[in-house]
């Protein structure tokens, strides 16, 4: 089974636009939406949820006021500053380490596990989709990404899928690392802008750090010719293949408003570019 992750460093470069089209084009793939923080794939694929998994990551400290003597030892030991005035825990700041529970001399603190997200196994018109929703302000996005990928692997096996297509999160942190580790190839979507190039370089470094071979796709390629050439030069120097270029166009927005993937919405030149990228990616994956 082959796994492809689509990443970008920068947000808004068109990861989901591409990945959803790949979902439509792939014959035998499981799709995993690993942008758990701002999942969008469901808006295009309209999944029918067949199984829901609760996600519990780290506990949160709770101080019971009837037992608390207000000695302040917990405040002194909390390195995250999560214990507010009146000995109340700020659940957004608490990292669930359990130090306050450990140091409390009167056992006034308990660590409580709450559900902080859900993962879903779904059916779509293009095959299985695994996606998730992280609770607002929850951390451990990386762990939820790992859960989505574990479920996706099971689902792919069950459905005899030969490929897993992963829509990754933006950035270079926790969730991106979880979406990248152990995949066969990363497709990096970039745009010819100063920010796009900056983030491309950072995310390529992340892929290299984890030994994942990458391919690049230049979106909005006609917005700035000299920046486009800069990307090409960078990729040539790095020995990274360019899978294709996609012009600056309103097609993705029009398709999105209709709730369709590009390749369903139109067969214009824009769609042809997307298909070409998919062909190159398939070739690179050796399938």
């Amino acid at each position: 089974m082959r796994q492809l992750t689509v990443i970008s460093g920068k947000g808004g470069t068109g990861k989901t636009t591409l990945t959803s089209s790949f979902a439509a084009l792939a014959e035998n793939a499981t799709i995993a939406d690993c942008d758990v923080d701002a999942a969008n794939m469901h808006l295009l694929l309209q999944p029918e949820i067949i199984k829901t998994y609760d996600f519990t990551a780290l506990p949160t400290a709770v101080i019971h006021p009837e037992q608390c003597t207000g000695c302040g030892i917990c405040v002194d030991h909390c390195r995250f500053g999560a214990i507010k005035e009146g000995f109340e825990i700020d659940p957004y700041i608490c990292e669930g380490c359990g130090v306050c529970e450990y140091v409390c001399p009167v056992d006034a603190v308990t660590m409580e596990y709450n559900k902080c997200g859900e993962a879903y196994e779904s059916k779509t018109r293009f095959g299985p989709l695994v996606h998730a929703k992280l609770g607002i302000g929850e951390e451990a996005g990386g762990k939820l990404v790992t859960l989505v990928r574990e479920i996706a692997e099971e689902v792919a096996q069950k459905n005899n899928c030969d490929t897993i297509i992963i829509d990754g999160p933006p950035g270079t942190g926790c969730s991106v690392i979880a979406a990248l580790t152990g995949v066969d190839i990363a497709l990096v979507v970039t745009e010819p802008t100063v920010a796009g190039i900056h983030d491309l370089k950072r995310v390529i470094e992340v892929a290299e750090h984890f030994d994942i071979p990458s391919l690049v796709c230049i979106n909005k390629s006609d917005i700035n010719d000299s920046k486009r050439r800069e990307i090409e030069t960078f990729c040539t120097q790095k020995g990274i293949r360019i899978a294709g270029e996609i012009p600056y166009d309103t097609t993705p927005t029009e398709a999105m408003v209709k709730g369709k993937t590009i390749v369903e919405y139109t067969d214009n030149s824009f769609a042809k570019c997307v298909i070409e990228v998919w062909e190159k990616v398939k070739e690179e994956m050796g399938s």
Binding site: S8, K10, G11, G12, T13, T16, D37, A38, N40, L43, L58, P59, H77, R79, F80, Y92, I93, E95, C97, G98, V99, Y102, V103, L134, I136, G137, E138, E139, G141, G142, P169, P170, G171, T172, G173, C174, I177, E191, P192, T193, V194, A195, G196, H198, D199, R202, E205, V206, H209, F210, K220, I223, N224, K227, Y248, T250, T253, M256, V257, G259
Partner: protein
């Protein structure tokens, strides 16, 4: 006053808004809290100097004293320690630096050392600070927290990371106003709802900037009207803005009439915070 610029989704124009706001309003400063991908300085072109190497404390085991009882590993909720019969292994990438392991160690075998997670840099004027997370580093929040200590006394704009998870929360926490940047599309609306829910729960007053106004559908406007979220600015879908952006040019420089609009928006924000 502390104003955050957040969005839920990436690529909606947070940095564009933060930078142009910063350049339009006198006597304010800017913090780029999107430490995974800090882009503000690509538009400001400041020479930067490093002011701090940010570290988090991670455990060091003294094997002379350690009896491999495993209490440290049992305590660690992040699986950053593994107690083997002959040795305790430390996975410092997973460590959050809570200090619990050294507290529970019965033999006083655990001390701590600093592990670098990234840098804080500033412009020579001191009005701009940015954080840069090390490549391969998962923990953005401690760096953002440290960066926020450089906010200073004046009004400060903070460019937040995308999403609604911990790095975004760390940035938005304790600020006076949150600008939510979105685009008028179904994706934009979906992510705006998530971000709006966060600021509502954190009880931070907020307003919406619709970027690329004119594309998409009317869903975002409808949502704002229904939930009483004020729309404080609309930036049109304009290829000229996209081209200036691609070159790293803030659009208030090519279209100076926009400075006035940012100043007006600042007045609106001050009014809402009061």
């Amino acid at each position: 006053m502390k104003i955050t610029v957040a969005s839920g989704k990436g690529g909606t124009g947070k940095t564009t808004v933060a930078v142009n706001f910063f350049l339009s309003v006198p006597k304010i400063s800017l913090l780029d809290c999107d430490v995974e991908e800090p882009n503000s300085n690509l538009f400001l072109h400041n020479d930067l100097e490093k002011v701090k190497d940010v570290t988090i404390p991670v455990p060091v085991i003294d094997e002379q004293k350690c009896e491999h009882c495993g209490k440290c590993a049992d305590f660690c909720n992040y699986n950053a320690l593994a107690a083997l019969p002959q040795k305790v292994m430390v996975f410092s990438d997973l460590c959050h630096g809570c200090g619990g392991c050294s507290l529970v160690c019965p033999n006083d075998a655990i001390s701590e050392t600093g592990r670098s997670i990234g840098d804080i840099e500033r412009s020579f004027s001191g009005k701009f600070h940015t954080g840069l997370l090390n490549i391969g580093e998962a923990m953005a929040s401690p760096l953002i927290k440290e960066l926020k200590t450089y906010a200073g006394e004046n009004t400060v704009i903070m460019d937040a990371p995308p999403g609604t998870a911990c790095p975004m929360i760390t940035t938005v926490e304790d600020t006076d106003y949150c600008i939510l940047v979105t685009e008028p599309t179904p994706f934009g609306l979906n992510d705006l709802k998530l971000a709006a829910e966060v600021v509502r729960e954190m009880k931070i007053p907020a307003g919406v900037i619709i970027n690329r106004a004119g594309v998409g559908d009317g869903g975002v406007e409808e949502y704002c009207h229904q939930t009483g979220l004020p729309i404080i600015m609309e930036i049109p879908y304009d290829r000229r803005i996209a081209v200036a952006y691609s070159e790293g040019i803030p659009f208030v420089e090519t279209m100076p009439q926009w400075k006035e609009k940012f100043l007006q928006m600042f007045e609106t924000i001050k009014e809402a915070v009061r």
